[in-house]
């Protein structure tokens, strides 16, 4: 079983959503493992096997009852100066990517695929997280974690949209529209995240999006003001925590989040069904 969680923008709530899936499905004894093909982040965590991975995957691993390991995030891109990005592959610095020294995308994708295969063969379910928005037309051909992974693995995907700033229907519909024809059918469902108020007001909009795209609405999640140290530098997380503190603070929150998602009617069963495809 495998599922890819995409977001309509950075900070849409992908990381937390994947952690919730890890928590919930590990509670069902399905043995999920988190995976993010590539991460653009300075907020990294030293895994037990000595490699460096994105902080988000560490949280997701704990949610799944696992210890973080390098395969969960085989590619880490760390901005290290103007126009320079340090490429970390399998937990170790690999090269500095600059405009003159671009990364060999296909070679790196092969490494991603190998790491994914190792996880899939040793776990019951792989919960993959996308990176940023999958609909960046200027980046699509170089992409690893979104359209790249969809093509490489044929993996089913769901889309998380953030309603907080408004325009969520446009974001979900537009993302679906801009995915290339060959991978669009893999996008099976969507989630509306960070909603405040009475969800019934959204119903007609949700129905319209379902009708236009054929995707299923998996739920509307309430705004949760929880101190989760988000991984990308864009999020204005007020409680940035480190190391052991982060782990205990996060673990006490994740159960609350899963519970809130259940109360809000998040359709975990459909997600499970989709992940069998």
């Amino acid at each position: 079983m495998r599922i890819l969680v995409l977001g309509t923008s950075s900070g849409a709530g992908k990381t937390t959503f994947c952690a919730m899936l890890c928590r919930r499905f590990s509670g069902q004894g399905l043995d999920p493992v988190p995976f993010k093909a590539s991460n653009l982040s300075l907020n990294s965590y030293a895994a037990q096997d000595g490699g460096e991975i994105g902080m988000g995957q560490a949280f997701q691993a704990w949610s799944a009852g696992l210890e973080p390991e390098t395969d969960m995030n085989p590619v880490l891109l760390k901005p290290s100066g103007p126009g320079v990005i340090q490429l970390v592959v399998n937990g170790k610095p690999f090269m500095d990517v600059t405009p003159d020294h671009p990364m060999d995308r296909d070679a790196v994708m092969a490494k991603v695929h190998e790491a994914y295969d190792r996880l899939e063969s040793s776990h019951g379910m792989v919960i993959c997280e996308g990176s940023g928005s999958p609909a960046e037309l200027n980046l699509m051909d170089r992409d690893l974690a979104n359209v790249g992974l969809m093509r490489e693995l044929g993996i089913p995907a769901i889309l998380v949209g953030d309603i907080e700033r408004g325009g969520v229907f446009a974001a979900i519909y537009g993302t679906w529209r801009l995915l290339p024809d060959d991978v669009r059918p893999q996008l099976k469902g969507f989630v509306i995240n960070r909603f405040r108020g009475d969800g019934s007001i959204l119903r007609s909009g949700i129905e319209r999006i379902e009708e236009l795209t054929g995707m299923k609405c998996l739920g509307v999640l309430p705004y949760m003001d929880l101190r989760f140290p988000e991984e990308d530098s864009l999020s204005h997380s007020s409680g940035r925590l480190e190391g052991a503190d982060a782990r205990s603070a996060f673990m006490s929150n994740i159960d609350e989040m899963v519970e809130a998602a259940e109360t809000a009617g998040l359709d975990f069963d459909s997600i499970l069904e989709m992940s069998k495809g």
């Binding site: 037309l137 200027n138 325009g167 537009g174 993302t175 529209r177 801009l178 108020g197 007001i201």
Partner: protein, 609 residues
């Protein structure tokens, strides 16, 4: 009338003078106005396109043309003068003037065009785009007015006429070179009061309180649409262009049919539309395409261009995606605008969300972040000094602050209760006499001894009487559902004097028992009034005047009491905030001019360079 005739006679003998930049009042209407006819030779023209009858103070009927700009357009002036000469007119009141006006109107009076800027999300950059377009057109000699049919904001300002409108429309009016923003530019202002209830202001005056359901169920389909229509029509008659701003996303398909803030307003105003998308969070192509395609086709046709805004770093990488986007979307991208590093007041509380501190200065000012904090643009001028602000949400946030500011609030009573419950009130009381403390509006009311809301008008619970912070002996009574809305200018009565300007916007009136801080004048009160409260020895300052820190004298005076680690705050050569804003509007417009397809923009507006 005789007085006007005398003035017009003088004007006729002087001939064309163009903009009179030596005049103290210049520009009384707009930057670049023609001042030849400071007094109109057609008065009272009684032409409903140009003015209206109002009732004067003594109940008499007066022809009012304060909003008419027609006689301040140079082509009109030159035509009138040439006709005066051709016909040999020498006297004001000549019966041939009405005929000249008819001909001048036939030649020069055109209804303006409306252009609407909508955003894919909140915070997309709509308001700065409107400001930039206003300035870009103003630089080309056009008369431009900003317009936002419905604004939800707790940051508002007061017009010359004593109406309350959203702060951001006054900023856009400044960008358009207008001296006096008016209530037509933001006819509906929603001020969130409680969780789902807002005070609705119509044309700058309190109208009624609505919750979400009754607003969309009763107000919008009832008076709402007509209010939007009347006001945008008013502006179209007076300006070459009306640049409208949407609210939130126009593609909220679940409430599309109840909208008067986005495409609904564009239809009413018959406006073409530009969509602005903030690139910063990613997914901008999807947001843009989704917004366009979810709008029903008959309205979608109005969308003539897309601007991608707030691109960080080099825009060339982003531009690589544009040809593919234009092919799918079918609407041209008319701008890819990089992040503009400008100092402008922040529009709404979105900007404060999650913000714990701001600024890099040495002196630490603790600002109480009330749940209903209002007019927090009052704080913006502080950042011109060596100041940083920490937003106080719990008592411990006050540790180490060098000064405290209690800002405005939409609900003094509920926020006072919140201060007590969080322990912030006691923490502030402990700082009395140790650091300077200033209260503005609601914050000033809280500094008094009592808040009397016996009628429940402010907090909603009749019989409420709360203790304030007890810094002043003042009592504030919320006695009527009535709001004081007034612009004032005055003198400081402390610190050796100096000019202060500001505006009052409040429910509730205070009985003041303290030494006053200012002596102010305005067009509504008879003669100068004492305003504010001060106990200099205890470093306590309170005023109803929003914008009190905008001018240097009071800002400097307040900061002169601040000691950071025993040292006084270093005062750099800062300017009046107004000048800083003006400079930054120019910078903003430059960034848009450089990164927008200006011929395409002008093409949408039906003009060329």
């Amino acid at each position: 009338m005789d007085c006007i005739k005398k003035k017009v006679n003088e004007e006729l003998s002087k001939g064309w003078i163009g903009p009179n930049r030596c005049c103290d009042y210049h520009p009384s209407h707009f930057e670049g106005q023609d001042c030849t006819f400071c007094y109109c030779p057609f008065y009272p023209c009684e032409d409903e396109d140009l003015g209206n009858f109002i009732t004067g103070k003594r109940g008499n009927t007066i022809w009012n043309c304060t909003d008419c700009l027609f006689i301040h357009r140079t082509p009109v002036v030159k035509f009138v003068l040439s006709e005066v000469e051709r016909l040999g007119i020498t006297e004001a009141g000549d019966p041939r003037f009405p005929g000249i006006l008819i001909e001048a109107k036939r030649r020069f009076f055109r209804e303006g065009r409306a252009l609407m800027v909508v955003g894919a999300t909140s915070d997309a950059g709509k308001s700065v785009t409107v400001a930039a377009i206003c300035r870009i057109l103003q630089r080309r000699g056009y008369l431009v007015a900003p317009f936002k049919s419905q604004n939800m904001s707790l940051n508002s300002k007061v017009t010359m006429g004593g109406s309350e409108i959203a702060m951001i429309q006054t900023l856009q009016a400044k960008a358009a070179g207008l001296k006096n923003p008016d209530c037509h530019m933001n006819p509906i202002l929603l001020k969130p009061k409680k969780d789902t209830v807002s005070q609705v202001m119509v044309c700058g005056k309190p109208y009624a309180d609505y919750d979400v359901e009754s607003y969309y169920g009763e107000f919008v389909p009832g008076p709402g649409r007509e209010i939007v229509r009347e006001n945008v029509e008013f502006l179209k008659k007076r300006y070459d262009f009306v640049i409208m701003e949407g609210a939130g996303s126009p593609a909220e398909i679940n409430i599309y049919d109840r909208d008067i803030a986005n495409m609904g307003a564009a239809v009413i105003a018959d406006a073409d539309v530009i969509l602005v998308v903030n690139v910063e969070w990613g997914g901008s192509f999807a947001y843009a395409l989704g917004t366009v395609e979810l709008i029903p086709e008959e309205d979608r046709r109005r969308i003539k261009g897309i601007i991608f805004n707030n691109v960080r770093g080099d825009t060339s990488r982003f531009r690589e995606g544009i040809p593919a986007f234009e092919e799918v979307c079918g609407i041209p991208v008319i701008g890819v605008v990089p992040h503009a590093d400008v100092i402008l007041p922040s529009e709404d509380s979105e900007a404060l969300r999650g913000l714990r501190s701001r600024g890099e200065g040495k002196c630490l000012v603790g600002v109480i972040k009330f749940p209903r904090i209002a007019n927090f643009t009052d704080l913006d001028p502080l950042f011109l000094e060596d100041v940083s602000v920490v937003f106080v949400e719990k008592a411990s946030d006050l540790e180490g602050v060098d000064a405290v500011v209690l800002p405005g609030t939409k609900n003094t009573v509920n926020d006072m209760r919140w201060m007590e419950e969080t322990g912030i009130a006691d923490a502030v009381r402990k700082l009395r006499g140790r650091v300077p403390i200033a209260g503005i509006c609601g914050g000033y009311q809280m500094m008094g001894a009592k808040l009397d809301d016996s009628l429940g008008l402010e907090g909603g619970v009749p019989g409420t009487v709360l203790d304030g912070l007890g810094f002043f002996g003042n009592t504030t009574v919320f006695g009527k559902y009535e709001k004081r809305i007034v612009n004032s200018t005055g003198e400081m009565l402390v610190g050796g004097g100096g000019t202060v300007t500001g505006y009052e916007l409040h429910m509730g009136m205070s009985e003041v028992t303290e030494e006053p801080l200012f002596r102010i004048e305005n067009r509504f009160d008879k003669g100068p009034q004492e305003e504010g409260s001060v106990r200099e020895g205890e470093m306590l300052f309170g005023t109803y005047l929003h914008g009190v820190f905008d001018r240097k004298p009071f800002r400097r005076y307040f900061l002169s009491f601040v000691k950071h680690g025993g040292e006084a705050v270093e005062l750099c050569d800062s300017k009046d905030y107004d000048d800083v804003v003006e400079e930054n509007i120019g910078k903003l417009a430059d960034v848009f001019e450089e990164n927008m397809d200006i011929p395409a923009l002008l093409g949408i507006l039906g003009v060329s360079e």
